[in-house]
Amino acid sequence: MKFIDCSACIGEAPVNRLIINHENYPVYEKVKQPKDAAELLAEMDYNGIDEAVVYNATIVNSGLVHGNNRLVSDPVNYTGRLHGTIAVAPSFLHESFLPENIYDMICRYNLFGVRANPKANRYMFDRITMGDVADMLCEKNIPIYISPSDGWEYVYAIMKEFPSLTAIITNYGLWGSDGYVYPLVKAYKNLYIDTSDFQEVTGIEAFVNRFGSEKMLFGTNYPMDNMGGPLATLIGSKIPLRDKENIAHGNIERLFEGRLLK
């Protein structure tokens, strides 16, 4: 089966890696990290993962502009088997965050989408602050990754204000979060969940039985998570093969094709 990892990270943390157990509950641990694309690709080879959507660790640990530039500074990070994502922030903070410049960057490097960490980056993802950027993302069907690491209320607020966003919920921790996830999936037709942290026993079966397989994307959240766990969870789930194929690669391929790029 073909696997496309919807979310992995290239680069090293300055100290221990921040890992989410559940919202507002971090663990800081030393993990094996890929310092560059070559090391990530080697681990993908070992695990049988064909392609991955990536970001540079410095958007978490250092600066957004710096991290975005690190990613696109070397084509190996966003061509071939790897597809890039960049961080967004309010457009008044830096010209590179103007919607037209974000869109140009996405088109120029054929990036898959963008990421937002509003609390960590200290802004509100609402119409006042992010309306121009969010409207562009909606109009162009550009996916945005959102983590509830600082609380699910941020995700709910963003989706309430921008319900047509193509949003991928990622890095949410391993505790069972159906009480938060299910209503979002039910309410917003363009919302997807990354499987990397989806560790509930029979969780994939329960989700697919309720919502079908179109709203789930295979992910590893590497290196916060390893690759084997999410792989075995999907491979071992008791769902039909066509549903596994959707989750493993079909759904994200549809999102790739749905973007309106120049």
Binding site: K30, A42, E200, V201, M224, P230, L231
Partner: protein
């Protein structure tokens, strides 16, 4: 793509959709629902059904209701062991806030063959692992070479520092560092290297990149135990973490089964129970 993982066990898993070749023993499980996490299945009968599907031989279990409902200590694990004696081995959950109530029933550990030891939850019970109220249970376990599975977590009152003090006094009980002290895994590893009767537990922490490799490299696969917190988490996730670690299949088999089997046999021997 060059597929470079040549593990026969991983190949077996990907072809069969489950780990056919090794029937797993999970040393860190619970049972029942819990108020701050969703669990699609949690009743004992449906959980045994999932164990069948995932090829899980047996679980070492401390049900949530025994850990948090102090009304009738360890009623639930005894029910589950009676119903599924081959599949469920029991931890006597010990809540030090109700010490006398638990001690009153502690002889049940001798009376019921499938009790393998004790389960402590220092942070959740808000009692440090260094507190004297654990002494009765620890002495009991020490005399019988039983297992003590304690929740351990870096930077809390059940960190490697508290475990180190405990292990200075207790040389015969088999101490499992539940979760292997996230935030301070390196300190947990140092402890397990020093003490023959201490083990690392994969529960939760297995999910991070490189953790299984690091544990095996530093303490040897013989000191690493398979644990999942089931029914919180999926067996297959932890199975995948082990199968895709950069270690030999022999070591994986020790983690999946061999180590727990060895400990279990020693407990049975110490308790004078026929194998």
């Amino acid at each position: 793509m060059k597929y470079t993982n040549d593990s026969a066990l991983w190949k077996n898993f990907t072809e069969a959709g489950r780990l056919e070749k090794v029937s797993v023993i999970d040393v860190h499980t619970h049972m029942g629902d819990i108020n701050d996490a969703s669990t699609p299945v949690f009743e004992i009968d449906e959980c045994v059904g999932v164990m069948d599907e995932r090829n899980i031989d047996s679980i070492w279990c401390a049900p949530h209701y025994d850990l948090f409902d102090v009304d009738e200590p360890n009623r639930y694990i005894e029910e589950y062991m009676a119903k599924y004696p081959e599949r469920v081995k029991g931890y006597f959950s010990f809540n030090p806030n109700y010490c006398e109530r638990y001690i009153k029933r502690i002889e049940r550990v001798d009376e019921i063959d499938n009790y393998i030891g004790f389960k402590f939850l220092p942070v959740y019970h808000n009692v440090s692992l260094a507190d004297d109220r654990y002494k009765y249970a620890l002495d009991f376990a020490e005399k019988r070479n039983l297992v003590v599975l304690s929740h351990t977590w870096g930077g809390t009152a059940c960190s490697p520092a508290e475990v180190a003090e405990l292990l200075k006094k207790y040389k015969n009980l088999q101490f499992i560092l539940g979760h292997s002290s996230p935030n301070q895994l390196d300190d947990a590893i140092e402890l397990v290297k020093k003490h023959d009767n201490a083990y690392l537990d994969l529960c939760d922490i297995h999910r991070h990149s490189g953790i299984v490799d690091k544990m095996c490299e530093n303490v040897g696969a013989e000191k690493v135990l398979f644990g999942t917190d089931f029914p919180w988490y999926e067996f297959n996730y932890c199975i995948g973490s082990v199968l895709c670690a950069h270690i030999s299949d022999d070591k994986k088999e020790l983690i999946f089964r061999g180590n727990a089997e060895r400990i279990f046999k020693n407990i049975k021997k110490a308790k004078g129970v026929d194998l």
